[in-house]
Amino acid sequence: MALKFLVVDDSVTMRRIVINSLKNLGFNEYVEASDGRDALGKLSADPNINFVITDWNMPGLSGLELTKAIRGDATWGKLPILMVTTRGVKEDIIEALTARVSDYIVKPFTPQILKEKIETLLSRQ
């Protein structure tokens, strides 16, 4: 089945940058969401989504809360979740891993890092 990404970020700029990067890597299937709550709605509406890339700091439902919600759901619980955030301190990374994000990217990211992380997560599935 083709990869379909859910790109979650409250910044329009960041969503476009992540999507441009995905297209550059040859991934053309994606859905956008502006916060965690929106993302849960998109997940419910589209069963073909099989990879989540999310920011942390968002209004409403944060990326961390979104991760917990996904992990607690029987349908989406095993989706790969890549957190892309400015939060680079050790405590934050540990908190994200405790919430069971699959991997962690600190902004600003490079295309190589995004590629590596996606490939690693796909190979682990």
Partner: protein
């Protein structure tokens, strides 16, 4: 007689108490003499300080009034940079589309030149061994075949595409600065709240409802106060090390 004898020591006791009180009073007057100039100085000081305190109060009130405006201006900067970034991203997308069109055109041109070369070969064969015409046909054939336009142009196009992609990635700075500005706005809001409370305590007046706009936090951006834009991958290396360690422990 016996009663008189008993009353005398009592009288003497009372008198000594009166003297004690008088002595205390004397001390108080002496202290009063010393303290009065100090109290006078204090009154003078208060006279001088009160206008100064009023100035400070008025200055705090003015600053408090200006803070929401500063916060709104910061929010405006965020909106403007986001708009500008979106426009740049639109232009980068347009450049990408144009480059793809040029690339397609070059590929089409290459195919056309291959067809021309094939037709020239057919013509050469049909014309036969006429010396002069053969030489010209050979020349045209060589010109068509030897063109390096496609290769060099495609290399150039790929380089431009790479550069435009780098521009796109650099625009992550907009998201990061937006978070930094939101953190500054949050700080302004905190200071404003403290100053407002202080002014309210002094004046017993409610300036908050008068001066604060409803949306003071600058567009409700959720921010990381430590957000920073750096080209080094130090933070990513730290994250990778923690993720690796976490995986090792879990496996």
């Amino acid at each position: 007689m016996q009663e008189e004898m008993l009353e005398k020591p009592q009288e003497s006791n009372s008198m000594s108490k009166v003297f004690e009180r008088l002595s205390d009073l004397k001390s108080i007057f002496k202290f009063g003499e010393k303290i009065v100039p100090i109290i006078q100085s204090l009154v003078e000081f208060m006279r001088e300080i009160i206008p100064l305190l009023e100035t400070i109060n008025s200055s705090i009130s003015d600053s408090t009034k200006k803070m929401p405006m500063a916060a709104n201006q910061i929010a405006d900067v965020t909106s403007a940079t986001e708009l500008a970034t979106t426009q740049i991203l639109d232009l980068v997308d347009d450049i990408g589309i144009a480059l793809n069109n040029i690339e397609s055109g070059l590929i089409q041109d290459e195919e056309n030149r291959a067809k021309v070369a094939h037709l020239l070969a057919v013509i050469k064969e049909k014309v036969g061994p006429v010396h002069a015409a053969q030489a010209e046909l050979d020349e045209v054939y060589d010109l068509v075949i030897s063109s390096q336009l496609k290769e060099s142009s495609i290399q150039l196009i790929e380089a431009i595409k790479d550069d435009t992609y780098k521009i796109t990635l650099s625009l992550q700075v907009q998201d990061i600065t937006a978070q930094q500005l939101a953190a500054v706005n949050h700080l302004i809001e905190s200071v404003n709240n403290r100053l407002t409370m202080l002014v309210q305590d002094i004046n017993q007046s409610d300036i908050r409802s008068e001066f604060l706009p409803e949306d003071f936090s600058g567009g409700g951006i959720h921010f990381d106060p430590n957000a920073s834009y750096t080209k080094t991958e130090g933070k990513q290396d730290v994250a990778d090390a923690i993720v690796q360690e976490s995986r090792r422990v879990n496996n």
